[in-house]
C-alpha cells in the first residue's frame, strides 16, 4: 500500500497523516482527524452535506482526495464556534429554526459562511443560488434562508445580542 504524507491546517491546527492517495478529504476529516461534524450524505457530489472550506472556498469534500489539498487550510463546522461563542451563522440556524433533522446543516452552514464572507448582504435570490448545491431533504429551505439572513444582519451590525427580525442594518449604528 503506497501512502503519502498529507499536512492540513484544520480549523487552525496543523494535522499530518500518512494516507493512501485514494483517501477522500471527507474520510480524512472524519476517520483520520476524528472530526465527524462533516457529514457524508449522497457520496455522489450532489447533496453538499460534506461541504467544508478549502482555503476559504466551499468544496464538496467527498469529491476531492486529501492528497490534492496537501498544505491547504481547511475549515469545518467544528471550527465555527470561537471561545465558547456560536458563530453568527450557527446562532442564525438556532434562532430561526434552520434545521429539522440536522443532517445537511454542517454543509449548509459552511456554504453560508463563505457566502456572507463574500457578500455580507445577500438578497434572498442570491442566498438560494448560493445554497443550490446543498440539499435539505426535510425541505426546510425557508427557514434556512431566514437563518442566513439572520446571520448576515448579525455580522453586519456586529452586535453580540440576538438581533430581532425587524432590525435592519441601521439598527446597529451608534
Amino acid at each position: 500500500m503506497i501512502t503519502q504524507s498529507v499536512t492540513l491546517t484544520i480549523n487552525g491546527q496543523p494535522f499530518t497523516a500518512q494516507v493512501e492517495p485514494r483517501l477522500l478529504l471527507v474520510h480524512f476529516l472524519r476517520e483520520v482527524a476524528g472530526l465527524t461534524g462533516t457529514h457524508i450524505g449522497c457520496d455522489t457530489t450532489s447533496c453538499g452535506a460534506c461541504t467544508v472550506l478549502v482555503n476559504g472556498v466551499p468544496a464538496k469534500s467527498c469529491t476531492m482526495f486529501a492528497v490534492q489539498v496537501d498544505g491547504a487550510e481547511i475549515r469545518t463546522v467544528e471550527g465555527l464556534e470561537q471561545n465558547g461563542e456560536l458563530h453568527p451563522v450557527q446562532e442564525g440556524f438556532f434562532q430561526e429554526h434552520g434545521l429539522q433533522c440536522g443532517f445537511c446543516t454542517p454543509g449548509m452552514m459552511m456554504t453560508a459562511v463563505a457566502l456572507l464572507g463574500q457578500n455580507p448582504d445577500p438578497s434572498e435570490d442570491e442566498i438560494r443560488r448560493a445554497i443550490s448545491g446543498n440539499l435539505c431533504r426535510c425541505t426546510g429551505y425557508v427557514n434556512i434562508v431566514k437563518s442566513i439572513q439572520y446571520a448576515g444582519r448579525k455580522m453586519r451590525t456586529a452586535q453580540t445580542q440576538p438581533v430581532p427580525a425587524a432590525a435592519s442594518a441601521e439598527g446597529g449604528q451608534p
Binding site: I2, T44, T45, G48, C62, M64, Q68, S132, G133
Partner: protein, 292 residues
C-alpha cells in the same frame, strides 16, 4: 464509495507532466478539478493507475485577453469564468454556460479545460465553444499544436488528445463589434445535465447577420454544430421569420435519443425553442453590447 488504489503525482512543469504521460501512457489520467473524474473513479467506471494532477504547474489558470483571443488556461475554474468582468462583457454566452454547470460548489473547483477534455456530450462548454469557434491548444512530447474545437471533439468521451498530450489552453477568438452570444439550457433541476441546451454567437452589420455559430448540447453522441442553421443565417436580415427558420434548422441537426430526460421528439422541440431564445438574447447583446 472508495476508488481502487492509484499512484498520485503533482508535476511542477508541463514537460514533467508529459514525461509521466509518455511513460505510463493509457494507464495515466490527467487530473484538473476532479469534479467529473473523481465521481467516475468512485463509481469505478474509471480506474487509472496513476493520476497526474496539474494544479502546481504555473500559468494554467490564465483567464485573459491576449493576441486577439480570450485565453483560458486548462485549470481556470468555472467560478472564475462566470464572475470575470471581461468574460461577462465580451463572451456572455461563455459566462452563462459556466454559470449553469452543476452547482456553485462544484463550479468552485471544476475547470473549463476538464469540461472539454472529458468530452461528455452532456457537458456545456463543448457546444458553446463550437458556437464561438474556439481553438484548443495541446502540448505533448513534440511541442504544442492547435486545433479547432470541431477537430478536438471526436466522439462520446473521446477527444483528439493523444495519451501523452495535455490540454494546455483554449483560445476563443475575440469577437468583432456588434457580436452577441448566449447559452440557453433546460435542466430538470440544479446539478442535472441538460435535457438540451444551445450556445450561439452571432455578428450583425446593420440588421444583417455576417457570422453565426450554433452548438447543441446533449442531443447526440457529442456536441453538434448546427451547420445548416449557421449558413442559413449569414447574409439574412434579422427578423422573426429568419430566427424561426434558423431554430427549425438547428432542431433538424439534433440527434436526440429518448431517455429519462424525455422523448426524442420533445428534445428536438426543446432545441428549436432554446435556439430561438438564445438567438434573440444574442441579437439583443449584439445591439446593446452587454450581458445585462
Amino acid at each position: 464509495m472508495i476508488p481502487p488504489p492509484f499512484e498520485y503525482v503533482v508535476p511542477r512543469s508541463l514537460p514533467e507532466a508529459i514525461a509521466v504521460l509518455q511513460d505510463r501512457g493509457p494507464d495515466a489520467k490527467v487530473l484538473a478539478g476532479g469534479q467529473s473524474l473523481i465521481p467516475l473513479m468512485k463509481l469505478r467506471l474509471a480506474s487509472p493507475a496513476i493520476l497526474v494532477d496539474l494544479q502546481k504547474i504555473p500559468g494554467l489558470s490564465t483567464l485573459e485577453e491576449r493576441d486577439g483571443a480570450l485565453v483560458i488556461g486548462a485549470m481556470a475554474r468555472e467560478s472564475a469564468a462566470e464572475s470575470s468582468p471581461i468574460v461577462r462583457q465580451r463572451y456572455p454566452g461563455l459566462a452563462e454556460a459556466s454559470s449553469v454547470i452543476a452547482d456553485p460548489l462544484v463550479r468552485n473547483f471544476a475547470t473549463l479545460g476538464g469540461n472539454l477534455a472529458h468530452a461528455d456530450p452532456a457537458n456545456d462548454h463543448p457546444a458553446m465553444m463550437l458556437a464561438m469557434r474556439a481553438q484548443v491548444v495541446a502540448e505533448g512530447p513534440n511541442g504544442r499544436r492547435q486545433m479547432s474545437i470541431d477537430n478536438f471533439l471526436v466522439d462520446t468521451f473521446e477527444t483528439a488528445l493523444a495519451p501523452d498530450e495535455v490540454l494546455v489552453e483554449i483560445r476563443v477568438p475575440r469577437p468583432h463589434e456588434r457580436t452577441g452570444s448566449a447559452y440557453a439550457k433546460l435542466e430538470r433541476k440544479v446539478g442535472d445535465y441538460a435535457i438540451a441546451a444551445v450556445g450561439v454567437q452571432i455578428t450583425l452589420v446593420g440588421d444583417t447577420f455576417t457570422s453565426a455559430g450554433i452548438g447543441l448540447t446533449n442531443v447526440g453522441p457529442k456536441a453538434i454544430r448546427a451547420s445548416a442553421a449557421e449558413s442559413y443565417l449569414v447574409g439574412k436580415r434579422m427578423d422573426d421569420a429568419v430566427l424561426r427558420e434558423a431554430a427549425r434548422l438547428a432542431a433538424e441537426a439534433a440527434q436526440p435519443t429518448s431517455d429519462l430526460r424525455g422523448p426524442a421528439d420533445y428534445k428536438r422541440n426543446v432545441v428549436r425553442t432554446l435556439t430561438g431564445r438564445a438567438l434573440r438574447s444574442a441579437v439583443e447583446r449584439a445591439q446593446t453590447g452587454a450581458m445585462q
